[in-house]
């Protein structure tokens, strides 16, 4: 049923695209129709090209996602567990977000080169904050009743963090990771646009310059499919790991 709905939406969008092209009669070098773009995938050489560049962009996104999530989790736990760390690290976090990643892109390419590294750094940077903020928020909002209970049981701060606060914050972390998954491709593509020798962003710029508009749109399509696919994989994974999060776990304290 779900797959059927996804197929219907995809088919509907393709029809709309074709209809727009047919009705307006727009030139193929402005907006090629889906059939024209689809033909790119049948051309073996172009398909090889797309796959090669998609692999590069995909690894940038995946590495950035893993690195950004790890860094975000570590920072959130540090910030939540120690007030002095919170006072020193929070301003740094906020400043890091006040500078748009787009503005940092040229500097990162300058420092880390045209290769994978600068794009992974970009994706990591863009992911880091939503993950940290969401997880920290979850860690801060542990049900006070749970903390009271854990204290009467004689739990140390570290064990309460490990057995109560971190698990209780996992649903919040998972929302952070979902947001991160959705924005990770932005980091990678911005990096590729600013300076690169491979990746779907690079391919789009190149084919645009060479008026290979069909290849450009094919690259865009592949990117969109990758982003959507990644999101669904991550979403399904998180649901599997946190089966209790749909239930209401919280409770209130009175008086």
């Amino acid at each position: 049923m779900k797959a059927w709905r996804a197929l219907t939406i995809a088919g509907g969008l393709l029809l709309l695209w074709q209809a727009l092209v047919s009705v307006t009669g727009v030139a193929a070098y402005i907006l090629p129709g889906p059939l024209l773009v689809g033909r790119v995938f049948l051309d073996n050489a172009k398909l090889q090209l797309l796959i090669a560049h998609a692999v590069v962009t995909g690894s940038e996104i995946a590495l950035g996602l893993v690195l950004g999530c790890l860094l975000g989790c570590v920072s959130a736990v540090l910030v939540a567990s120690s007030p002095p760390v919170r006072r020193w690290l929070m301003p740094v976090l906020v400043v890091s977000q006040a500078i748009p990643v787009f503005a940092l892109a040229p500097a990162l390419v300058l420092w880390l080169g045209y290769g994978l590294l600068s794009k992974v750094a970009m994706a990591t940077l863009i992911i880091y904050f939503p993950v940290t903020a969401a997880f920290f928020d979850g860690l801060r909002r542990t049900d006070p009743g749970w903390l009271d209970l854990a204290r009467t049981m004689g739990g140390s701060r570290w064990r309460i963090l490990r057995h109560v606060r971190i698990p209780a914050a996992l649903p919040a972390l998972s929302s952070g990771i979902r947001v991160a998954t959705a924005v990770a491709p932005i980091g990678a593509i911005v990096g590729e646009w600013v300076g690169s020798s491979a990746g779907l962003g690079y391919l789009m710029l190149q084919s645009n310059a060479r008026l290979q508009i069909d290849v450009m749109f094919a690259a865009l399509l592949v990117l969109a499919l990758m982003a959507v696919g990644l999101y669904f994989i991550v979403d399904a994974g998180l649901r599997r790991v946190l089966p209790w999060q749909a239930e209401d776990g919280g409770s209130r304290t009175e008086e």
């Binding site: 049900d143 009743g145 749970w146 009271d148 209970l149 854990a150 204290r151 009467t152 049981m153 004689g154 739990g155 140390s156 064990r159 309460i160 057995h163 109560v164 698990p167 209780a168 996992l170 946190l242 089966p243 209790w244 239930e247 209401d248 776990g249 409770s251 209130r252 304290t253 009175e254 008086e255």
Partner: protein, 255 residues
């Protein structure tokens, strides 16, 4: 019966301010050894705060609960709240074993067997592996009771543990709790005069701003008492009148 003898718990000259106004000042409370003391009073009078103070969960307050030898009771207290405070990501069995985890003890097979026995004792044999989300409110509070018994503390503090349950479940659980907690020093905070009369060796009414404790009411016979007892129903009517007057005074004091 608990493993360690139940102490008499004393609180002397306890004071607590909230938002600049005294909640209670120079308050004395005695919980006789091995007996259940029930605390009644209008909402917002400070019953829960007093219970938290005895539990050592109120850092801003003056006064600490001690036993008859003047030693602190911290570490000898188990806490059962209105919310079951079960961790939704743990099974019923693991929730019962939470205290051992928080103290960093390795969970021995003997401890696991004991937790299973306690779950069976509260009527949940066969539900050990179920997560709290799949259990009813009454079952969840039964797991919380088993968790309290697993802690095997000589002092048990209960904050309206049955108030969110339906009448029949509440009646059953009151009987079960009285049976399981016999011989311990128990403080039960409740809204329900009949519950207090059914379960308490002594019933105290807390009222006024700042709050004071009335003279203890000692109903005849041993708890759990039969709620159909005519003398008990008479006392309930008296208590309701007292509480109603206390509430009126409380309301008159609100700005």
């Amino acid at each position: 019966m608990p493993n360690t003898p139940a102490p008499t718990v004393r609180l002397h000259a306890a004071s607590l301010d909230y938002a600049g106004a005294p909640v209670f000042a120079a308050l004395d409370l005695t919980l006789p050894a091995g007996q259940t003391t029930c605390l009644l009073g209008p909402s917002g009078v400070g019953k829960t705060s007093l219970l938290h103070l005895v539990a050592g969960l109120l850092p801003g307050a003056v006064g600490a609960a001690v036993d008859e030898h003047g030693r602190t009771v911290q570490g000898r207290v188990a806490y059962l709240a209105q919310q079951d405070l079960l961790l939704p990501w743990l099974s019923a069995l693991d929730n019962v074993l939470l205290g051992s985890r928080l103290r960093g003890e390795t969970v021995s097979p003997a401890a696991t067997d004991q937790a299973r026995d306690l779950l069976a004792r509260v009527g949940l044999a066969g539900r050990e592996g179920d997560r709290p989300g799949t259990l009813s409110g009454g079952m969840r509070q039964r797991v919380a009771l088993a968790r309290t018994l697993m802690e095997d503390r000589p002092i048990v503090l209960m904050d309206e543990p049955f108030s969110s349950l339906d009448a029949i479940t509440r009646y059953d659980l009151q009987g079960l709790a009285a049976e399981c907690l016999a011989g311990r020093t128990v403080l039960l905070v409740t809204h329900d005069p009949l519950e207090a009369l059914r379960l308490g060796h002594r019933v105290l009414v807390m009222s006024g701003v700042p709050a004071t404790l009335g003279d203890p009411l000692i109903p005849a016979g041993q708890p759990p008492r039969d709620p159909a007892n005519a003398a008990l129903l008479g006392l309930q009517a008296d208590l309701l009148k007292t509480l109603s007057r206390a509430k009126a005074r409380q309301d008159a004091h609100q700005p």
